[in-house]
Every structure is written in C-alpha cells, then in structure tokens.
C-alpha cells in the first residue's frame, strides 16, 4: 500500500500556516517558496504546503473568463479551509483571494470566500504584523549596500502593503530601502496585459527601470514575481546591471542563487 501524502513538512510549534506558493514561484522561482517557509518557521509557525495547489485563477479572472475562474477559486477555498492562516508570497495573489474571490462568488461560496479572506495574508504583512518575526541570531552574511523596493499595485492598493517589507528589511537585514520617485506607478506587467499590449507595457517597464536605476541601488526587491520578472527581463534586455530578487530571498539572505534572469 502506498504511503499517504504528508502535507506537513515541519514539526508543530505554533501557528498553523498553509503556504500558497503561487504559480510563478512554483514554476520560476522555488527559492521564494523555500525562503518563505524558512522565514515562517523562524517566526514560530508550523508550515504546510497543500499539495493540490496550482493557480489562484487570476489569468482567467482578469481576462474576463469568470466562468473558468469560479471553479479555480472554489478549489483554492476548499484546499485552504482548514488552515489557521494562509500566507501568500505575492500581493497580487493574496489580493485575488482576499478581495476578488468574494466579488466573483455568490451565496455559500461567497461566505466561504470571506472566511478564507479573513485569514489570508501576504507574506511580509504576516511576518511583520501577525507573526512579528524577530531577527535571527546569525548576523546577515551578506553586505548589501543599497536596495530599491518595488511596490506591486495590488499589494499597495488592495492590501495596504507599504511599510511592512521596509520594516522587515530594516529589522532583519539592516537595510534602508532607497525609494523610487514614482513608487505608486504600475510597472506595466498587468498579467496578460504585458503580452497583449507589449509596446505600452514596454514603455511602462522602461519608466520603472529608469526610476530604479536613478536610485543608484544595486538591487531591486519586491513582493510580486510578476512585476519582478517583467522588470528583470527588461533590465536583461538593455544590459543593465541590477540584481532583481523577491523580498523573501533577501529577508532569508538566500543570495547565492542567481538573481532573476541571471545565468548560473
């Protein structure tokens, strides 16, 4: 007989947290998910990774295919219903769960969506405000001189994420973030937008990259892989030397893996 799947990867210690990895971290940057798990454990949480997870349904939803998005939302709600907390290393996916599932669904499913929304948090919000992570005893092994931060739009406006990543970077790594001039302006990713309207998106990501470069920072961090893939991809195209990383990697000091878009 086969051994049943064990969803719990770490021994019980405190808050039971289910990690919603997000499809972009799953596919493109597993280091984000591993760093998230370590950070949550450092904050005293018992972390599980539900094995049924795939995608939160944003591509279909944002493209107006609500009919396809509904069953995906229901799948995520069912999968995560038993967790005490759900943590998502992306403002846009957390925003989807917290704000858009209740809009998309009706009746009982809407109620269940609201229940899930109440216990779902973006990673930096959870670490900073809920779990109140303490700095680890090890000194930061890397000396990073200056980091710019990109606020993803959904995180910024749907979830009010602004101070949390900055406070964490300060507290855990001693980093003061260099602020962008136009930090409230979208980077031009927008899910399928960047592929449907590439020229406009290209102009927007150029503006964002120029803003980042103008800070003089050597690294750009952010909480949303979609934005980061977009900005890193443009930097690579133009040959600009800026290291782009998810904030979780930076907080966990996992800086040996090549940055986004960089070779081995």
């Amino acid at each position: 007989m086969n051994e049943p799947d064990r969803e719990y990867s770490s021994p019980p210690r405190g808050k039971r947290v289910a990690l919603f990895v997000t499809c972009l971290a799953d596919l493109f940057r597993p280091s984000v998910a591993f760093a998230s798990i370590k950070l949550l454990e450092q904050a005293g949480c018992e972390v599980s990774v539900p094995l049924q997870q795939t995608c939160c349904g944003q591509p279909a939803y944002n493209s107006g295919d609500y009919e396809e998005a509904v069953p995906l939302a229901q799948q995520v709600i069912t999968m995560l219903q038993d967790a005490d907390y759900v943590v998502v290393p992306s403002g846009s996916c957390a925003g989807m769960i917290c704000h858009h599932y209740p809009k998309l669904l009706e009746g009982v499913w809407r109620e269940r969506a609201l229940e899930l929304a109440a216990k779902t948090f973006e990673l930096t919000v959870f670490l900073n405000d809920i779990a109140q992570i303490k700095p680890s005893k090890h000194k930061p092994s890397h000396n990073i001189s200056s980091v710019a931060y990109h606020d993803g739009c959904a995180g910024l406006r749907e979830l009010d994420i602004h101070d949390q990543p900055r406070q964490l970077l300060q507290k855990l790594c001693g980093i003061e973030v260099s602020e962008l001039q136009q930090s409230e302006v979208c980077c031009g990713f927008g899910g399928t937008f960047c592929a449907k309207m590439p020229e406009i998106s290209g102009k927007m990501v150029d503006d964002k990259l120029n803003d980042v470069l103008a800070t003089g920072a050597d690294m750009l961090a952010g909480g949303d892989l979609g934005c980061l893939l977009n900005i890193a991809g443009r930097a690579r195209r133009l040959g600009e030397k800026i290291e782009v990383r998810h904030v979780a990697e930076l907080l966990y000091q996992d800086l040996d893996t090549p940055a986004i878009g960089e070779g081995d």
Binding site: R6, L27, G64, C186, G188, G202, L229, R236, G261
Partner: protein
C-alpha cells in the same frame, strides 16, 4: 465624433513613437498627481465628502425621472425652454432649429464634451453656421483641426511652440514674435472677444443641473462660459440627463471634490449658475434660453450593471493617474472620452465591438479608483467589460483558448504538476546558462520588449514532493 477606437493599438504605437509628445506626457504624468494630492492633503473633508457625494449621486440616479421632471418644471418656471434629445442627431437638429429660428450665423461655444460626443460643430458648420470654440484649449484644437486629448484640458497634447506656430499661421496679424505663453493667451483673447460680441447664439455645457431651482452650474477658469451665456441673444445649454442633482447644496458639495480632483484648485476662477433669460429689470443677459438634455444611451446604462459610471463627475483624475493614458495620450483611445473612464464609457456609448481594445488597456493597478472622487470601481468595470468581450467571443480566439487550457489544467493538479514540471525542466535546460531567453515560441508579446527569465530548475512542487517522499522513506527505515 468619428471613432477610431478599433485601431487603439496602432494609435498607441504611433503616439509612443512621437518622442516629443511622449516626453511632454511624462512631465504632465509626474506633475498632475502632485497638484491633486497637494489640494487634498490640507482638505480633511475629502473622504467624507466623497462618501456623501456617492450617496447623492446614487439617490439622484435612483430617482432620475422624478428629478428630471422637477428640473424641467422649475426651469420652465424660470422662463427656459427644455428639450430632451434621445440621441446625437436629435440634439444637433434641436440646436440647429433654435439657431435658424433666430437667423443666427455665428455661434460662440463653451467647452462641452457632450457636443463633442454628438459632433455638433461639424453639423452646424455643414448647415452654414460659423462656430467658434471659446475655451482656450478647445479654440486651439479647433484651429488645428484636432480633437480633445483630455476631458478637462483638451489641448494638453500641444506645446507652447506648436501653439505659437499655429497662431502665427492662422491669425492674419502680420509678423510678430509671441515670445511668452501670456502673449499667446492675450492674442487668443483679443480674437475671441470680438467673436463673443458678434455671436447671436451662445452654447455651453453644464457640470450640474439643479432640480430644486432649475439652474445649471458651470465651472471654468477663463470666464468664457459666462461671456457665451450673457452676451449673445440666445443661450443653449447642452448636457446629459445624468447631470441632475436634487439640491443646490449637492451641486456645491460636488464642486469641492470636482475642482480639487481636476485641477488641484480649491475653486475654479469662475463658478456660475444660470437661471434663465433676462428679466424685465435686468440690464443684460440672453433674451431666450434653452436646455437640451441628451440621453444617448444613458438610460440603457442606468438599467445596466454599469450604472455607477453615470456617477462620474468628469474631473479627469483617472486620466491623470493612469499610466496607460499618460503613455499613449488621449487621442489613441479614438473617441471623445479617453483614459479609464473613457475605456468604460466608449464601449457603452458606442459599441463594444468598435472599442474592444479599450477595456484591455488596463493593468488593474487601481490608481484610478483610488483617486476617483465619485468612488467608481473603474478597474472592476473594465474587467466586467472584458467578461462581456469574452462571453461574446470578441477577444482573440487564441487567448481565449490558451486561458481555457490553462484553467482546465489548473483544475487537475496532478497533471498540472507533471506537465509544468516537464516544461519548466526543458526551459531550465536551455536557459539556465544565460539566465534568460531573448526569444521564445508563443511568448512573442513578452519577448518583443524584454527577456524572458529562465526558471531556476525543477518546480517547487517537484522538489517539495521529492522531499516529502524522502522523509517518508527515512521514517519507514526507522
């Protein structure tokens, strides 16, 4: 107005290639949000007033028929004529009839997006009338033969140099330098002044109609609206049915949000209320006044899921804060109303088929909704329009199919993990050395502008499941 929304992507592409205009748009995009936030920072009532106006607008729309009736009654009591126009043709021919009854040849016109919508100028001109726009921005684009690029600042796309060149070629005033902006303004003022005095009919728009007293309210910064309204013998106010508000205090409350959101002022230079024709004791003013109230699908919108769009107060803040509007400019949208509000209104007032690109010109960044003084959920409405496009199969078939396949796969986790695992391993194999792809099949949209970052290696799920198996094996061994 003729519509070119179908070619939005081509229009946008051309706009992006005009680097002088694109640079100017960048300057404005950095500047406009600052003046708005400065105006709102010291104004503690903003949020409460926004909630209040939302309720007022909802109430007005819920009882639109009642308040329109009350407005009509009061306006007629004041000596006005009130006309209702179901569509653009009816508005245009009503206005022409009035002009012809008075044997008018010259029209002085204030800024009105509604008459841009109906194409009134072209219609009157084809009937032999001379129509002069008197808002400076509108005057400039009329001389240039262009259309507005912004609902508040119609000539936003033109530089002072372009305007100087335009005036020098259009105004027969001999050689002159016009070195400063103020010289341009005063030249236009001299020419317009003459026209105000000669015009037999004045046409203006309205920011609100007040049901309780039958007045219309208009804000301008140039005072041209008042000259259009008071100097010619006949005044025609053209607006839409959704502008009606129950009380005068509702209109003034709205004003406090509108002006701050639009231009960052606490008040415009001129705020005027028009009651009707001159009375016996009045020394001046028009002898006859008309309201022409246009529906043009507003009733349909009222009955639809998009009724909140009728709460829009036309401040232009969503344009000023939209990164797509500021990237491509207003003309790319191909009709009267650009930016987020225009991407919703255009499909509703024309057709979704003709303007199917517009609801897609949005990254759902939410900045428009954040600043909207009418608290309209613009990104949600744009997405709902994309839902309609999807249901009506107006969007590209390959996108619809691609997203369906993705969603189907995502509902089958085991298969999803197996297939994505395979695809990601392949991408990693070919991409890990350089770290990103310059070109990739089926990702042409992405790679036309940027490299495609290569995945790190195996997917997280592959690694995680392998780890779980390893743990299970170790436990079995003990």
């Amino acid at each position: 107005m003729e519509q070119h929304s179908e070619t939005f992507l081509d229009n946008a592409s051309a706009a992006l290639k005009n680097s002088a205009q694109a640079e100017r748009r960048d300057v404005i995009a950095a500047f406009a949000p600052l003046i708005r936030s400065a105006a709102i920072e010291g104004f503690d009532e903003f949020d409460n007033l926004r909630k209040h106006i939302k309720r007022v607008r909802q109430h007005s729309l819920d009882h639109l028929e009642y308040y329109l009736g009350q407005f009509e009654y009061q306006a007629v009591q004041n000596g006005n004529h009130v006309h209702f126009a179901r569509n653009s043709d009816e508005l245009n021919s009503t206005v022409l009839d009035i002009c012809q009854q008075h044997d008018a040849k010259r029209i002085a016109k204030g800024k009105s997006m509604v008459t841009e919508e109906t194409g009134l100028n072209a219609f009157l001109q084809s009937a032999g009338l001379e129509v002069m726009e008197t808002d400076l921005g509108e005057y400039i684009i009329q001389q240039a033969g262009e259309t507005p690029s912004h609902i508040v600042a119609p000539a936003l796309h033109k530089s002072a140099d372009e305007i100087r060149e335009l005036f020098q070629s259009k105004h027969d005033l001999g050689p002159r330098e016009l070195p400063e902006t103020v010289d341009l303004v005063s030249e236009a003022r001299d020419i317009l002044r003459e026209h105000f005095l000669q015009a037999e009919v004045g046409i203006i728009g309205a920011n609100a109609l007040i049901a309780e007293n039958g007045y219309s309210m208009l804000v301008t910064n140039e005072g041209n609206g008042d000259l259009c309204a008071n100097l010619p013998r006949v005044l025609i106010v053209c607006t839409t049915i959704d502008r009606v508000l129950p009380l005068a205090q509702d209109a003034t409350a709205m004003l406090r949000l509108l002006v701050r959101s639009a231009t960052g002022q606490a008040q415009t230079c001129y705020t005027s209320f028009y009651s009707g024709p001159r009375r016996e004791s009045d020394l001046d003013g028009p002898i006859e006044t008309h309201f022409v109230l246009l529906d043009n699908k507003r009733s349909d919108i009222l009955a639809s899921d998009y009724r909140e769009m009728l709460e829009c107060i036309r401040c232009g803040a969503c344009l000023n804060h939209c990164p797509i509007y500021s990237s491509v400019g207003g003309h790319a949208y191909g009709w009267v109303y650009p930016g987020p509000m225009g991407s919703i209104l255009t499909p509703l007032l024309t057709s979704l088929e003709q303007s199917s690109a517009l609801p897609n010109a949005c990254t759902s960044c939410g900045r428009c909704a954040e600043v909207c003084p009418a608290d309209i959920p613009l990104p949600d409405m744009l997405r709902d329009l994309r839902h309609e496009e999807n249901s009506q199969k107006l969007s590209a078939g390959r996108w619809r199919l691609g997203l369906k396949v993705h969603a189907w796969l995502a509902r089958h986790p085991k298969l999803y993990h197996a297939l994505t695992g395979l695809a990601i391993s392949t991408l990693h194999l070919f991409g890990h050395k350089r770290g990103s792809f310059v070109r990739l099949p089926m990702a042409g949209g992405w790679t036309s502008q940027r490299d495609f970052p290569a995945p790190q290696g195996k997917t997280f799920m592959q690694q995680h499941q392998a780890r779980l198996k390893r743990i299970a094996r170790q436990q079995n061994e003990h």
